[in-house]
């Protein structure tokens, strides 16, 4: 029922949007001003200096879309099969119309640009300069309409004419086109219910993605309000916004372009995609770290601190370990993990031994770690002589206490009354501190000169040695952009990369196919390998083994692969080892797990240590991978990634695969946030950090969805059909475990 209302409402909203929202935009210039087209043939120019553009066939697009939308909305009142059939047909019509219309728009823009190109080179044809080839230019002008304008411009440059600033650049689909497409997709999707099997699959998918999808949508909706409040419609110097109609179109265009910027940079270009992956890399680590903790029933908010300690560990190895790369680099990666792991083990130990809450301790350790990093990167920290004596005294007292605890007779005496012993030690330490803290004649302050601190006031360390560095992507393909800017096109063995990716996808997809999964892990692996091999052979035949690709400067580096490896490790550890099973059992029901023989204290320390190690591995990106401008420890280490990891883990449902996907989404958003900074005058990337926070809040509130939608069992009951498949068919098989409990509550009422 609610589904029908939702689809119909969406169609009606789209119907309104077709009239008031821009259908496409062109001539987008600095400051995000643009001219927009509203169906059927109105052009509103916010730049104040664009010639109007008319696109043929837009009237047909409008009326076909309207027809499709009316059918979608009206069909909501029809009974079962008729409704789904109508939705299928109308959905296909909407998608087809929108695609065709946008193709028309692109063609029109391209034609006008080609004509402008012809006009631009016309003077040179008539009166060529010495270095210009008039004959070639004439030929180019004649053929301009047959090839892409960018190619023409490139060829013209070879013929000696540099064409700049062609009009109608930055054209893109608008809000109305997007909504039409979305309405078409929605109608098509729900129309699939014509086939009951597809309907069941749809139900399962919807249940699985409902909470994250709704949460993201709500967060983006909230961001819309902020965007509209902060950013006035960008207009050219002489443009006055007249009338509510133009104002509304402007607002909708601002909003749409903000979202478009947020996503298009990362998903539209190879460089943007790499940058998004680069942003995602540390988030994969921290997301895995937090998710791993969640699985064990522990809330690790200490990822920022663990990142710092990982970075410190990596820096030490990178600076001081001599030797060849094959030795130093793995040790440096290990040091990053160990640094973070030890820092994570501290709250683990405190919880296991003293029952101290890990939430607060991990938070407190973040502050300690931040201070520690600042201390290490500050220039010549100074201690007063008396302070040094106090520190020495504390060290002696602590050492004496530890030694005392290790000697059985002393230990026995101390155990008589631990509190009294503690009080005694404290009093001795306090009195001693007061005594040694008294100034003495000849006291000189002690100045530490930290050997790894780079000279100067900037808080950063020396750069690590070459052998500990992970090269960035361009460098891996032999491009040194600082030496040869521009010549960044190299033959790349794309076949191997694509085939590898396909193999991984095949492996994942095979998991969804019951037929393959039943034959076991090896069969899956084999299937994936076969897919990879076939793909490689096919791509090699296409000549993809040496594809000339342009590699733009990007921070992406192979630490991304380490992150993927870490995700695989977490998956194997959690779901394929005894330890992982024990951890998950501890997380779900600690008492039952303990009864079943799990060692809770050991598991707590281990879980937080592994979690910390995962967070510490972010150093492979930031220190070893040189993502912070240079290859060293810097105070600008973005420890906020540790907090973002919480959002990533929640969005990814604490599952490694989900975590990687969520991290990628956040990488796209962060990359888009940077683009937003540039594209708009009044918007900053803080909008994105707000979106991330809202996503966490909304996911925590289960997307504000009613329980009958979020709880699979309740949903099945509400629909009137419990899943027919046996429990073995559903992943996790947790339905029967829950069933008696829910049934009991139902019975109680």
């Amino acid at each position: 029922m609610s589904e029908r209302i939702a689809v119909a409402a969406f169609a009606l909203v789209t119907l309104v949007a077709l009239w008031v929202a821009p259908w496409a935009a062109f001539s987008r210039e600095t400051g995000s001003r643009a001219a927009v087209i509203l169906l059927p043939d109105r052009v509103i120019d916010f730049t104040g200096r664009t010639e109007p553009l008319s696109v043929p066939g837009q009237g047909a697009v409008l009326w076909l879309s309207v027809a499709g939308l009316v059918v979608v909305a009206g069909a909501a009142a029809l009974p079962g099969r008729a409704r789904y059939g109508a939705w299928l047909a109308a959905g296909a019509l909407l998608i087809g119309t929108a695609t065709w219309g946008l193709a028309q728009f692109d063609a029109a823009v391209e034609t006008r640009r080609a004509q402008a190109f012809q006009e631009a080179i016309a003077p040179n044809i008539a009166d060529p300069r010495a270095n210009q080839d008039a004959e070639r230019l004439r030929q180019l002008s004649e053929e301009a309409l047959t090839r892409p304008v960018t190619v023409s411009v490139e060829l013209a440059r070879e013929a000696g004419v540099v064409v700049r600033r062609l009009p109608y650049g930055g054209s893109a689909p608008g809000f109305a086109a997007f909504l039409t497409l979305a309405a078409g997709v929605a109608a098509l999707l729900f129309g699939l219910r014509v086939w009951p099997r597809a309907g069941r699959v749809l139900d399962r998918v919807l249940t699985a993605v409902a909470i994250p999808a709704v949460s993201i949508a709500l967060a983006l909706l909230a961001a819309a309000v902020v965007i509209l409040l902060l950013q006035p419609t960008p207009v050219g110097r002489d443009v006055v916004i007249e009338g509510p109609f133009m104002a509304l179109a402007g607002r909708l265009d601002t909003l749409w372009h903000a979202y478009y910027i947020l996503f298009s940079g990362s998903l539209g270009t190879a460089k943007g995609f790499f940058d998004a992956l680069s942003f995602a890399t540390p988030l994969i680590f921290t997301g895995l770290a937090v998710g791993f903790g969640f699985r064990a029933g522990l809330f690790n908010i200490g990822a920022p601190g663990q990142m710092v300690l990982g970075a410190i560990g990596a820096m030490f190895v990178g600076l001081y370990m001599p030797g060849p790369r094959w030795l130093v680099l793995p040790v440096a990666v290990l040091a990053a993990a160990v640094g973070g792991g030890l820092w994570g083990a501290i709250p683990g130990f405190l919880k296991a031994r003293f029952g101290a809450n890990e939430v607060i301790n991990t938070i407190l350790l973040n502050f300690v770690a931040a201070s520690l990093m600042l201390f290490m990167l500050s220039s010549s920290p100074t201690f007063a002589a008396s302070a040094v004596r106090v520190i020495q005294l504390i060290a002696v007292v602590v050492a004496a206490s530890v030694v005392g605890l290790l000697v059985p007779p002393v230990r026995r005496v101390m155990r008589i009354s631990p509190r009294l012993t503690l009080a005694l030690v404290a009093v001795v330490a306090l009195v001693g501190a007061v005594v040694v803290a008294q100034p003495r004649p000849g006291d000189q302050p002690v100045v530490l000169n930290l050997p790894f601190k780079a000279p100067g006031s900037e808080p950063k360390s020396y750069e690590i040695s070459e052998s500990a560095r992970i090269p960035r992507l361009p460098a891996m393909f032999g491009i040194d952009l600082s030496v040869t800017p521009g010549t960044n096109v190299v033959p790349v063995d794309a076949a191997a990369w694509v085939a590898g990716l396909l193999a991984v996808l095949a492996f994942v997809a095979a998991g969804a196919l019951a037929a393959v999964r039943r034959r076991g892990f090896l069969a899956r692996l084999l299937a994936a390998l076969v897919v990879g091999a076939v793909a490689y052979a096919a791509l090699a035949a296409l000549g993809w083994r040496a594809l000339p690709l342009a590699i733009d400067p990007t921070n992406l580096n192979p630490s991304f692969l380490i992150a993927i490896a870490a995700a695989v490790f977490v998956w194997v550890f959690l779901f394929r080892t005894r330890y992982g099973y024990e951890l998950r059992a501890t997380g779900m029901a600690p008492k039952a797990a303990e009864y079943g023989g799990a060692n809770i204290p050991r598991n707590t320390v281990m879980a937080l240590a592994i979690s910390g190690a995962l967070a510490g591995l972010t150093a492979t990106h930031y220190v070893l991978g040189g993502a912070l401008e240079d290859y060293g420890l810097r105070q600008s280490l973005p420890t906020g990634d540790g907090f973002d990891g919480i959002a990533v883990a929640l969005l990814g449902a604490n599952h490694p695969v989900g975590t990687v996907l969520a991290a990628f989404l956040f990488g796209v958003l962060k990359n888009g946030g940077s683009a937003m900074n540039i594209a708009f005058t009044d918007l900053t990337r803080d909008v994105v950090s707000m979106v991330l926070a809202l996503v966490v809040l909304f996911i925590a509130a289960k997307g504000f969805l009613p329980e009958r939608l979020t709880n699979p069992l309740r949903r099945a009951q509400a629909l009137g059909d419990l899943p027919e498949e046996p429990a073995g068919g559903t992943p996790g098989g947790d339905v029967p475990v829950v069933a008696p409990k829910v049934a009991a509550t139902e019975g109680d009422r």
Binding site: I360, F375, L697, A701
Partner: protein, 310 residues
């Protein structure tokens, strides 16, 4: 050390205690009702922001006429705004964690995350810079003599200790609040609305933490700076545990932490220890305290558990 230094130290210790006390007492209302409030840190930040912004915009019309003019009511309206905004943010935490039965820690973390992003967005919109607000001219007055000149909010913070004690332990409201946190089923069975009591507890904690924020931005300072809370919300939470969820215990705990922060100001400045070392000391101390070196703390029994009306 001579008396003057000692008195100054005592004064600054009391000043440093005030925001911690506000937040910790606030946290007590929330946690006694059974809702973990890790969002204190975020609420402090929102309160500080609201106080600074409202004070700024209330005094703006007068200041723009005669620069430097005194607008005595401006900071008080700011304080009121901080309380309201604190209650509002507390309400968000309450809705998500009570109505939608979210994990209370996650909900709190989300609010803390918002306290990073949202102020930056608002400041950018208003002042074109994402880190600080404009400075205000009329901050809260100071009452007192010599080293003991305090903002009224400092007096209020200490006055709140007996008030909180009285409310919690001598009024029907307090009894119900504690009952809801200890044994919600029992409270429910005698007709106490668990949901309503928890909403009240969480929103009250928001009001108090908001006051703590107001003290930071317009009591102890004259503008809002991002991260001006500097972990006080978390230290307050630790003080709450250390003080065993009792007003007097909380007073002792926050005084200890406040004294440490005051020492930090005295020790820092490169005289004795590097400032970075001193900064980390309160956090290390808190961890040692939490590790139970001073005895175990028993939290309210139903803390962190959403109430399912059976």
């Amino acid at each position: 050390m001579d008396t003057v230094v000692l008195l100054a130290l005592l004064g600054s210790a009391l000043r440093a205690t005030a925001p911690l006390l506000f937040a910790a007492l606030g946290g007590m209302f929330s946690e006694r009702s059974g809702v973990v409030n890790i969002a204190l840190e975020g609420i402090i930040i929102f309160g500080a922001l609201a106080a600074a912004l409202v004070t700024y915009f209330v005094e703006l019309p007068v200041i723009s006429q005669t620069p430097g003019a005194s607008v005595w009511y401006a900071p008080w309206i700011g304080v009121l705004a901080a309380m309201l905004v604190g209650a509002g943010v507390g309400w968000i935490h309450a809705v998500v964690s009570i109505r939608y039965k979210a994990d209370q820690i996650i909900s709190g973390v989300a609010i803390n995350l918002m306290a990073i992003g949202v102020p930056a967005v608002i400041l950018t919109g208003l002042f074109g810079n994402s880190a600080t607000s404009a400075t205000i001219t009329n901050r809260l007055p100071r009452w007192g003599e010599g080293a003991f000149q305090f903002s009224p909010l400092v007096y209020l913070a200490f006055l709140l200790v007996p008030i909180t004690w009285y409310v919690l332990f001598r009024t029907p409201f307090g009894l119900r609040l504690r009952a809801v946190g200890e044994h919600p089923e029992a409270a429910d069975s005698v007709g106490v609305s668990v949901t309503r009591m928890r909403y009240a507890g969480v929103m009250l904690s928001g009001v108090l933490a908001g006051l703590g924020g107001a003290y930071l931005s317009i009591g102890g300072f004259n503008q809002f700076i991002t991260e001006m809370s500097g972990g006080r919300g978390f230290i307050a939470l630790a003080a709450l545990i250390f003080g065993k969820w009792h007003p007097l215990g909380v007073l002792g705990a926050t005084l200890l932490f406040g004294a440490f922060q005051a020492l930090e100001t005295q020790l820092g400045g490169g005289q004795l220890l590097p400032p970075t070392v001193v900064q980390s000391l309160p956090f290390i101390l808190t961890m040692l305290v939490l590790a139970g070196f001073v005895g175990r703390a028993i939290p309210p029994k139903a803390i962190g558990k959403p109430f399912e009306k059976g």
